[in-house]
């Protein structure tokens, strides 16, 4: 695991705020501050909008510069600006190399199993829809949801959960 190598220490500030007018929902804002022990000057990185992971640990590449995954906020399938930027590169790569792909949708372990299966499917389809809007044919994209069954980071921590809320684009055989 890359994150272990870098010996990151993690400070999590969790704030639970009640939303005005939505008495029964609540928003969990997780701020993760990553301090790299390897570098001489500690660099601060806040996890972006809501609790979406913005780092590059766990990320693999379909080709040089083409990241294979995008990350989501808790219970959300909304694509962030960083996600669409990644997917733009994926779309270009898929078009130019004429490959077919499988989009795997994943959820973190903090939801019920069945809901997470649906959520993973929703995330994978958000990615599929975006790739199709960039001209990728429906026939060359398959989706599969793994819910919470296949975490990439097996720790029970806010950082791990943010890395696990993802969709991964895999070349199909």
């Amino acid at each position: 695991m890359n994150y272990v190598k870098h010996q990151l220490s993690l400070i999590i500030l969790r704030e639970v705020k009640m939303l005005k007018g939505l008495r029964n929902s609540f928003l969990v804002i997780v701020l993760g501050i990553l301090i790299s022990a390897c570098s001489t000057t500690a660099t601060k990185k806040t996890v972006g909008a809501g609790d979406v992971y913005t780092g590059t640990d766990t990320v693999k590449y379909l080709a040089t510069g083409v990241a294979d995954r995008v990350f989501f906020a808790t219970n959300s399938s909304k694509l962030t600006a960083a996600a669409t930027a990644t997917l733009d590169k994926q779309a270009d790569y898929i078009k130019s190399s004429k490959i077919s792909v499988v989009i795997e949708g994943h959820a973190d372990e903090r939801g019920t199993r069945e809901y997470n299966l649906a959520l993973g499917e929703r995330r994978a389809n958000a990615v599929r829809d975006y790739l199709m809007s960039k001209g990728i044919a429906k026939a060359s994209i398959k989706v599969i949801s793994y819910g919470k069954e296949r975490p990439v980071n097996t720790e029970s921590s806010a950082l791990a959960w943010s890395q696990n809320r993802r969709s991964v684009t895999v070349k199909s055989k």
Partner: protein
Amino acid sequence: MKKFFLTFFSFFIISQSAFALVKIDITRGNLEPLPAAISRFYMDDPAKFSKELKNLKLEEKIPDLISTNLKRSGLFNIIDPKSYIQSPSIAHMKPTFQDWALIKAQIMVSGKLVIDSKKRLRVEFRLWDVVNAKEIEGLALFATPNSWRRIAHIISDKIYERMTGELGYFDTRIIYVAESGAKDQRVKKLAIMDQDGANNKYLTLGNELVLTPRFNPTAQMITYMSYFKNLPRVYLLNIETGMQEVVGDFPGMTFAPRFSPDGKKIIMSFAKDGNSDIYSMDLATRVVEQLTSHPSIDTSPSYSPDGRYITFNSDRSGSQQVYVMKSDGSNVKRISYGEGLYGTPVWSPRGDLIAFTKIYRGNFYIGVMRSDGSGERLLTQNFYQEAPSWAPNGRVLIFYRETKAGKSGVGASSSLWSIDLTGYNERKIKTPTDASDPAWSGLLSK
């Protein structure tokens, strides 16, 4: 293939006398367990017993298992057998009640083993009301040496029913997912065991991911989800024949299956283009009906015991909440209004309550509420637990719990737990491996 009903047995009631005055009140929260003496059984005419049968020591094993069952229910306190002074045969034929009253037993159980004229093994038991000095229940069952555990479970159920006025749950099985391996490549197999963890068997090899098995009413069929050939679909498995089939012909993921109370339909979610809705399929006619049609996630459906309603969870309000609708999909009503998220609703076999998982401020709760959403009670809180399933009498819930994992998943584990409806008597259920997604069968002898 595997046969789970190896043993033939039949039973008849030999006597049933006046109404018991000694009763356990299980609607009260913190109860005093009933002091019970479970006498050793005895062999009637031991000369007729084969050496093999004698070696089984059923006259000890059967009462021991009855004691274990009753103790685990939390409703009985079993008095130490060392303090029993009557021989098992006298206890069974003509007990001296004063002797049992002296050790503070309120009820006493006795029994004998008989080889009848057709060389069949017959197990007889009697339940005595010590306080009122009379027999209140009796039963004789034919057994094979292999079926002694079921005999002990059926007797335990009889005692439980007589003392509580409610159905028992000892002669039942649990289907669950046995887990092994690292958290990011978990190997999952379907497994089945008796409610007390005995007779554990695996039904799949672990080659593909399997999730959420559930019994049909006769406990002979299971519906579950499998990633066979990387196509996540709902399957049907006959546990007696081993026959398996995909349920329906859906062009996408199907999941979260359950049987209808009559066993004729499977209700499940079908996910298409990022939207999960609830569907039912008639197993005989194969007719598929779409019951919800909403751009939100609708999943985890469960029928009411009369089959007229369905409870499910949906995030149509913006967050995961519990809903109830008529079984044709009409009259959808949200019933969960507490703080936090609500999921995995499952209707009690008694019809009055819905059990659920609640997620609130980073904790997971198992709770119950009435089917109109009133009277919410949380039974247990933990880092992660979900998916309650009811014992057939609607008194006990089984669910699974996962521990918080450290770096690289160190310390991750998953186990089965049961808890009484009152919130008392929480117990870990031992399984040979890690375990999740438990579902309780109905009573096997009904």
